[in-house]
Subunit: 435 residues, 2 copies
């Protein structure tokens, strides 16, 4: 019987700041990075891979936190771990000394995400299934057992959750068959980074339309006149049949957000994303009321399920953009999906970064098949970079994620990538290119 024998956590950083990929009004020079967790077993053919995503400095702090958080896994039998994914999560989470550092937020929560992502990858590989299929093969009761419903019982009880899942269980196979045909719809942010020139913006918008995308997203918030000019270019290219989204990355106070978004209303954005502090539930509710019918979206910095609970309770958002490497993996993400279903808010996961697209495709498929049963208002982010570092990269066809088939959570990076981009001792960072 295989055992987990060690945990390696690697600080992987890509020099994305050089190309302005990922530039926005708040994050001008990120080096997309991952605290990358490998759970090794004594079976050379079986490991678990997971990560959290950061943008450079401080990735080493997440690495240290993940190393500590994963310690209790060492020596555990793989079978015990993969057949008690709720229990493993609860035990890792129950360290009250580490809890003090959050609770359930910031570095410690990112580390929990990285470790549990690797545990879920291990479970899917052990079962020989892609993660989404591992999830949709679970019964309603099994899914509710792994979901972390702590602090949520005022809006969702276990019985309600089971009942919601049970309603859709008999028709799961139909939706799997449908997605196998169509893929899961996505949109691209690759066109709209703030550091790109107008010409590049125009060209990338055209390429997006030509590739079958029905949604394009642009970064805004640094300069209003620039935003007006860039949105005009985007609408010239994509027209008004396609959807245009805008993303301010938290740069505004609430009154400023309202004024700025109103000044861009003529371009009819589908949503304004991250208009203000990601912690400001009541602020998002105020913005939403003021800028309707423009929708409000947030979630990539949504720290935990308690925040999302309140976003739903307060009617603060039209679109929930949970993050696969910031929430504490499937255990917390399933809880957020269940609440979103109850409050009838579509989930459009955040992606991009390092490997987030690889992860979120599994989540969106799971949502449609087992939780929401709907594609209405749902579109999952896709950003076209860094996929070449992943062994099982996501595949996009005609503006949709193709269902992944390889076992696991698609989180494994190539060894050659680690050798090149491990920080600070990989070839890139230690060599001439890094200086």
């Amino acid at each position: 019987m295989a055992k987990i024998i060690s945990v390696d956590v690697v600080d992987v950083r890509f020099p994305t700041s050089l190309s302005m990929d990922g530039s926005d009004a708040m994050n001008k020079d990120g080096d997309y990075s991952a605290a990358y967790v490998v759970l090794r077993t004594d079976d050379p053919g079986l490991s678990g891979f997971g990560f959290t995503f950061t943008i450079g400095r401080g990735n080493d702090i997440c690495v240290l936190a993940a190393e500590q958080r994963a310690q209790p896994l060492i020596g555990q039998a793989v079978d015990d771990v993969v057949h008690d994914l709720g229990g493993v999560y609860r035990r890792l989470k129950s360290d009250s000394q580490l809890r003090w550092l959050g609770p359930e937020k910031g570095v410690e929560h990112l580390a929990m995400a990285a470790v549990m992502n690797a545990v879920w990858d291990l479970a899917a590989r052990s079962a020989g299934k892609p993660l989404w299929r591992l999830l949709v093969d679970m019964t309603p009761e099994e899914l509710v057992d792994v979901a972390d419903l702590t602090y949520l019982s005022d809006v969702l009880t276990k019985d309600e959750a089971v009942a919601m899942l049970a309603e859709l269980a008999p028709t799961r196979a139909d939706r799997i068959a449908e997605l196998a045909e169509t893929g899961y719809p996505c949109y691209t942010t690759s066109a709209g980074w703030l550091g790109y020139s107008d010409d590049k913006l125009r060209r990338l918008c055209q390429e997006a339309v030509d590739s079958g995308y029905r949604h394009v997203k642009l970064k805004v918030g640094a300069d209003l006149q620039d935003d007006i000019r860039r949105l005009r270019i985007a609408r010239e290219v994509i027209g008004y049949d396609a959807d245009l989204m805008i993303d301010a990355n938290q740069v505004w106070d609430v009154p400023e957000a309202i004024a700025w978004v109103r000044a861009l209303a003529e371009f009819k954005p589908l949503w304004i994303e991250e208009p203000t502090s990601p912690d400001d539930i009541l602020g998002h509710a105020a913005v939403r009321e003021a800028v309707a019918p423009i929708g409000v979206a947030t979630g990539e910095h949504g720290m935990n399920r308690v925040l999302f609970k309140q976003m739903f309770q307060a009617g603060a958002i039209d679109f929930c953009q949970l993050d696969s490497a910031r929430l504490a993996s499937i255990n917390e993400i399933v809880a957020v999906y269940l609440m979103a279903k109850k409050f009838d808010v579509p989930v459009c996961p955040h992606a991009g970064g390092v490997g987030l697209c690889e992860l979120v495709q599994h989540l969106s498929i799971f949502d449609y098949v087992a939780v929401s049963g709907s594609l209405e208002g749902r579109v999952t982010e896709y950003v076209d970079h860094l996929h070449e570092h992943f062994v099982d990269p996501c595949v996009i066809d005609n503006g949709a994620y193709v269902l992944p088939e390889a076992p696991g959570y698609s989180a494994e990076m190539y060894e050659s990538t680690l050798a090149e981009f491990a920080f600070p001792n990989g070839r890139y960072w230690s060599g001439a290119a890094g200086s």
Copy 2:
């Protein structure tokens, strides 16, 4: 002109789990710890001391984060730093790569607190004043410049903040003179840790009353019948003229909190502290409405000013218990005090831990003298342990903090303490006592 030449951050841990000091329903075995920052200058007589507080494991992660966060201070002239305390804060905070790890929460925010606490200590020492006096000697405009009002303008503008402070400025001296006579009222938690026996509880309650305390706080939430028995003992000793507070340390969901507190209502607690997740603004509002006239208090895990803004907006709390080592030092704390004033919520800072009492005495004095001008409903926590490690320990007389007079933020620990309790290489942890 003195310069900051180095930053040392020490992992200091005290084996408090051995005595059950600090035990509660959530935190059963904390080893009270500090990530302790020393800003050294090339003047051997001038350093800045600060820290954040943790309860053991993970303190090393805060140390690493504080080391990184403090790097930009090295080489800075002390005069430049201490005369631009708003600018220093904004520059340290502006690292967008580190921001990603929060933003403004968790380990990175604790580290920011530790570093900026040391900066404020340096500023007060440089001025030859205790921190509270440095603050009350600042003009309303100077105080508002150091306050971080980002994301708060929907409830508080700079002009409003200046006006509020200006109203009380002419009478500051009167309140200083008053506090010099009376001290600032405090309450004790030392009596009520969950791990203490009934006899010890009875004895400590009696000692509290005999020492002049008018408030006693007990931990609750592990077992309802135990809580009823312990509250009965406490009321037998202190009577109903003194105030009794209860503290659940986040163990309940919202419905459970309401039911449990109602079951303890016969003992007429002044407040229920941390009834549920510290992130749950709407949950606290629901508990407050359901258990009135028992008050709701929270804040020791209140992650940042945006959370407190919403607690005030939602009418969620009767008492604001901000934490001096979790909020990002004076810059963020002043902002919370200003909002509390506007919403007429008394601030009763969290203390205990390691050195938190030493810090909060300065805050409470500042609040009375410069911000609230009121003692009504205000009482600051005091816990009687670990003060012997501080060079300028707080002094309690007749249930009140005596005004500190030594220059600084009272944050400096003895060198001998560091030699003994530095982790893992101090004498205690490396020696026989630690094994």
